[in-house]
Symmetry: C3
Subunit: 143 residues, 3 copies
Amino acid sequence: MSTDHVVPPTPRGDYVPAVLHGGVVYTAGMTPRRDGELTVTGQVGAAVSVAAARAAAELAAANALAAVFSAVPAGVRGVRCLRMTVYVACAPNFHDLSTVADGASAAISAALGADALPARSAIGVQTLPSNAPVEVDLVAAVG
Amino acid sequence: MSTDHVVPPTPRGDYVPAVLHGGVVYTAGMTPRRDGELTVTGQVGAAVSVAAARAAAELAAANALAAVFSAVPAGVRGVRCLRMTVYVACAPNFHDLSTVADGASAAISAALGADALPARSAIGVQTLPSNAPVEVDLVAAVG
Amino acid sequence: MSTDHVVPPTPRGDYVPAVLHGGVVYTAGMTPRRDGELTVTGQVGAAVSVAAARAAAELAAANALAAVFSAVPAGVRGVRCLRMTVYVACAPNFHDLSTVADGASAAISAALGADALPARSAIGVQTLPSNAPVEVDLVAAVG
């Protein structure tokens, strides 16, 4: 996976995809959009299966990584993820958040190697923007 | 808007409004309090309209900015927001989180300019402290 | 309380307990596990009382502190908490999040002193991994 050439989704509101400061990049929360469209909507554990949610988390994390790379000068190497939050819009009785969040971790490993895995929080929430099932944000170190 | 002279709400618990470390300020989650009182309570998409929630998000973000300024020495310039999380307590079928969160972004733009807009996550949650409809926290760079 | 000798819970997924970068530690979200097992499960305001949730938040924060110490070289002093997020899985009408989150703050004060209290967000969410009632993550400065 080459994240250098992926463009992060255009913000759907008044914010920026990522900000670089002092060698640390903070990304916006990214949803599973491809070519601008959500690939899946709804609650995990209801309309959305665990497998579909895991794939959605992988895409959302890939978008978050693309946001990281969009904020750093071309050719910068040594990107390391520090922290990731994986929000999962889910049914009230759904607790297998780790399996869904592991999809996001898989995107990080695929792009940067297993050594780049960050600290992570997985949170089951009520809703996410545009009825997305997952949202992922990252803090990463560069250079 | 001059945030330099606004006092952030007093914490309702054992924490501080903001901490400065290494030129970065981390704020507590701020709710829409004015003179110590919440201006609105309840869930967005139920008791609270989108317009009221957007105004509440603007006030909460202004309070978070006040917390940023409370943590930096007087006269410091060059405050730049890096990251903002906007939590929205909402009805289970409410998905227009971006419109609500844009109220928080408006407070940042009004105080610091549109160039200061941060990366942002908008999250629809179950409840917030004291039944607040929105809560906003910031990471900002100073100096 | 000596957090130096506490081992943080083993991650239940593909992530690490904490990452140190530039003198700042970012922890994973920690739940109230003791010897690998959750001490309590369920929603606060339903199956879980406020008192039990407060104790669970204290344990979760102690685990997050253990994660901080696991990421810094032995003997490092001067740990200071910058930011803490306390997620509370709760009933839809539960709003006393500050009382629960104060349990997490108590763990910080006990280990590091009241001067070490961070900025804090308390958020009421739908569910947490493995049906945990609380999850706590930290950003801390070291050295």
